[in-house]
C-alpha cells in the first residue's frame, strides 16, 4: 500500500472529467492525468522515492510538497533540478532521476 490517486468514481467532489497523459520515468512509462504534477503522477503510480542522496545514497522522494525542501528534484526533458512537486506533468515528458555522486577526493 502506498500513495494513491483517489478514483473519480469514489471521489466525493464528483470530478467531471480528466485527460489521461503519460510520462517516461527513467525509460518506464507512467500514466497520470493532465493537471497533475510530476510528483503526483509518480507517487500515484506507487513509487515513493525517485532520487538517491549524494553522500549516503539514501532514497528520497516527496517531503514538503510545496516547493520548499528540494528533496524531489528530477531532470525533466534535459533540464536538471526541477522540483517534481511544482512542475505540472506534460504528456510525453521525459523524466530522469538524479543521483549526483560526490566527487572523489584524492589525498
Amino acid at each position: 500500500m502506498a500513495a494513491r490517486l483517489l478514483p473519480a468514481s469514489s471521489d466525493p467532489i464528483r470530478p467531471s472529467g480528466a485527460t489521461p497523459l503519460a510520462i517516461s520515468l527513467d525509460g518506464e512509462t507512467v500514466a497520470g492525468v493532465a493537471g497533475q504534477t510530476i510528483a503526483g503522477v509518480v507517487l500515484a503510480s506507487g513509487r515513493l522515492a525517485w532520487r538517491r542522496t549524494s553522500a549516503d545514497g539514501r532514497p528520497r522522494g516527496l517531503f514538503c510538497g510545496i516547493g520548499v525542501c528540494f528533496d524531489c528534484i528530477v531532470t525533466v526533458n534535459g533540464e536538471r533540478d526541477v522540483r517534481a512537486c511544482q512542475r505540472r506533468a506534460a504528456d510525453g515528458d521525459v523524466v530522469e532521476i538524479q543521483h549526483d555522486a560526490l566527487p572523489e577526493v584524492r589525498p
Partner: protein, 505 residues
C-alpha cells in the same frame, strides 16, 4: 499609484482587492500557477468537478475574490512569477514621512515561467508600494528515520489531497503540533486514506493555558474545519483517534516507512521512557508549526521581531516606508487574520489610512486577532525537550546529510562558536533548500533561536545571524541571470484589458 503584491494566498488576494478599491493599479505576483496560496490549494482547470468546495473553508469567498480580480483591467495577475530578489534602491533606510507618500525604496526582480524552467522571462518592478504576503511553510523537527520516503510534512499531505486528489498513503499517522493537524486528517480521509491517529505533542494543560484566556476566539477557529469536517463527520463516520502529549519519535523501515514509534512526551516534549508504542503505517505526516517566509521582507529591509515575524504598524506597514506585510509573515494567525491584514495592507498601500470608513470593519477585526498568534504559540509552540528523541544518526540537515552526532561533536570541538561557523564546518543549512527545512533546528541546537539570539549569533553588520537571510530568495539558473533580468517597468501600466499572465502556458 502602482502597488505590487507578492503572494496570491488569502492575504495577497484581499490586499489586491482593497488596493484596487482605493484606486491603485495592482500587479499580483505568485510563483504557483493557480491563485489561492497553500490555504486554497485546489485542482487545476484541467480537472473540473462538481463539488470541490467541500474540501475547503471559505471557498465561495475565494472564488468571488478571484473572479473580481480576473475581471478587473486594473489588476494584472502574473502566475508562475518567482520573485527571486528584492533590492533596496536607497541606503540607508528611508525614514517614514507624512504625505506625500514616498515610493517604496525597492526594486523587485521576477522570473516568469514554468517552475525551475530554463529561459523564464525576467521582469523588474519599481512600485510605489509593495505588499508582501509570502505566507509560511511547515516546520518539521528531525526524528530518527524522518528522511525515509513516506515521511511527509503535513502540508505535503494537504497539498496533494486538495491539489491532486492523491493521498500520500493508505494507512497514515499524523503528528506534530498545532491546530493545522486536524484539517489535514480530514483532507486525507476525504481522499480515501485511513488516518490511524493524530498525535499532538502539546498536553491538555498546555492547550488550556494557551486557549483559555479568551475562549470565545475558539469559535472562529472551530469553523476552520468547515464543510470538510461536516463531510467527514456525517458521511464517512470515520473516527480519527486524537491524542495529546504524544509524539512520533521515530520512523522505521529500510527504503520506506513501514512503522512509527509514538511515545508520550512531558510538558517539555521530552519522551517518557516506557511509553513507546509501535504503529504500522505506510505514511507519516509531521509538522510542528510553521516557518514564515521571511527572505523577501528581510531583503526589503523590514524589521523582524525577536519572535521572527515582520513588525508592522496598524496600517500593516513595515519599518520600511511603502513596504507592507500581511498574513502569516506577521504572525501565524490563520486565514481570517490574513484576510483582514491583507485588506488593510492593500488599502493603505494604495494611499488609504486604517481609520478610513471603508476599512473600519477590517481595522476592528484586526484588533480581535491581535494575540491570536501568541496563543497558538503558547498552546502548541515547540518545547526544547524534543532533542531527547534524536540519536547520533538522525539527520539534522537533510540536504547535506549532516547527522546529529557529527553536528554535536563539531559544536563541542569549536566551543559552539556561532551559527555561521557551525554551518561552514558541518555544512548544515548550506544545501539546496538553503536552510529552509533545518534552519530553525540548527539555530536551536546551537543554543540560539529567536528568543536568545545574541552575542555570538551577531554578524559584523550588527544584524542577528539567522538562516532567513537569503539575498537570492529562490534558486536561479546562471543562464537566466546571464540572459538579462528584464527592463524596469513603468510605474503606471496601461489600463486596457484584463490581464492574466500564465507562466505555464
Amino acid at each position: 499609484m502602482k502597488v505590487v503584491i507578492v503572494g496570491a494566498g488569502p492575504a495577497g488576494l484581499a490586499a489586491a482587492l482593497a488596493a484596487r478599491a482605493h484606486g491603485a493599479s495592482v500587479t499580483l505576483l505568485d510563483a504557483a500557477d493557480e491563485p489561492g496560496g497553500q490555504y486554497w490549494r485546489h485542482l487545476p482547470p484541467e480537472r473540473p468537478s462538481a463539488n470541490e468546495r467541500i474540501l475547503h473553508h471559505g471557498w465561495q469567498r475565494f472564488t468571488a475574490m478571484r473572479r473580481a480580480l480576473e475581471a478587473d483591467a486594473g489588476c494584472e495577475i502574473v502566475m508562475g512569477a518567482q520573485v527571486w530578489a528584492i533590492e533596496r534602491s536607497d541606503a540607508p533606510a528611508q525614514a517614514r514621512t507624512e504625505a506625500p507618500m514616498p515610493a517604496a525604496p525597492v526594486v523587485v526582480h521576477v522570473l516568469v515561467g514554468p517552475p525551475d524552467g530554463t529561459g523564464r522571462a525576467g521582469r523588474t518592478f519599481r512600485p510605489d508600494a509593495l505588499v508582501l504576503a509570502t505566507g509560511a511553510h511547515d516546520r518539521t523537527l528531525p526524528f530518527p528515520g524522518w528522511d525515509l520516503p513516506g515521511v511527509f510534512t503535513a502540508g505535503a499531505a494537504q497539498a496533494f489531497a486538495k491539489g491532486e486528489r492523491v493521498a500520500v498513503g493508505q494507512r497514515v499517522v499524523i503528528a506534530g503540533a498545532g491546530p493545522f493537524l486536524l484539517p489535514v486528517a480530514a483532507s486525507l480521509v476525504a481522499t480515501g486514506a485511513r488516518v490511524l491517529g493524530v498525535f499532538e505533542a502539546s498536553r491538555i494543560a498546555g492547550l488550556v493555558r494557551g486557549w483559555l484566556p479568551k475562549p470565545w476566539q475558539l469559535i472562529g477557529a472551530a469553523k476552520k474545519g468547515g464543510e470538510l469536517a461536516g463531510y467527514v463527520g456525517t458521511h464517512l463516520r470515520h473516527r480519527i483517534p486524537y491524542a495529546t502529549g504524544r509524539a512520533v519519535i521515530a520512523a522505521h523501515g529500510t527504503d520506506r516507512v513501514e512503522a512509527v514509534t509514538v511515545a508520550r512526551v512531558d510538558a517539555n516534549w521530552r519522551p517518557v521512557p516506557g511509553t513507546e508504542q509501535r504503529i504500522a503505517a505506510d505514511a507519516v505526516c509531521v509538522s510542528h508549526g510553521f516557518t514564515p517566509r521571511l527572505e523577501l521582507p528581510i531583503a526589503a529591509g523590514c524589521a523582524i521581531s525577536s519572535s521572527r515575524f515582520v513588525e508592522v504598524d496598524e496600517a500593516q506597514q513595515s519599518s520600511v516606508a511603502g513596504v507592507y506585510a500581511a498574513g502569516e509573515i506577521t504572525g501565524i494567525g490563520g486565514v481570517d487574520a490574513a484576510l483582514v491584514e491583507g485588506e488593510l495592507a492593500g488599502h493603505c498601500a494604495a494611499g488609504g489610512s486604517p481609520g478610513d470608513p471603508e476599512v473600519r470593519r477590517a481595522a476592528k477585526a484586526r484588533t480581535t486577532f491581535t494575540g491570536f498568534a501568541a496563543r497558538i504559540e503558547a498552546a502548541h509552540g515547540i518545547r526544547r525537550g524534543w532533542t531527547a528523541w534524536l540519536d547520533d544518526d538522525t539527520l539534522v540537515c537533510r540536504c547535506e546529510e549532516v547527522p546529529y552526532g557529527r553536528f554535536r561533536e563539531t559544536a563541542a570541538q569549536t566551543c559552539g562558536s556561532g551559527l555561521r561557523s557551525m554551518k561552514l564546518t558541518t555544512r548544515a543549512g548550506l544545501g539546496i533548500c538553503q536552510g529552509r527545512v533545518c534552519g530553525g533546528t540548527v539555530e536551536e541546537l546551537i543554543g540560539g533561536g529567536p528568543e536568545t539570539a545574541a552575542g555570538g549569533l551577531l554578524d559584523q553588520r550588527g544584524v542577528a545571524a539567522t538562516t532567513d537571510r537569503r539575498p537570492i530568495a529562490s534558486p536561479v539558473r546562471l543562464g537566466e541571470l546571464a540572459g538579462g533580468i528584464g527592463p524596469t517597468e513603468p510605474t503606471e501600466p496601461h489600463l486596457s484589458k484584463p490581464t492574466v499572465q500564465k507562466g505555464h502556458q
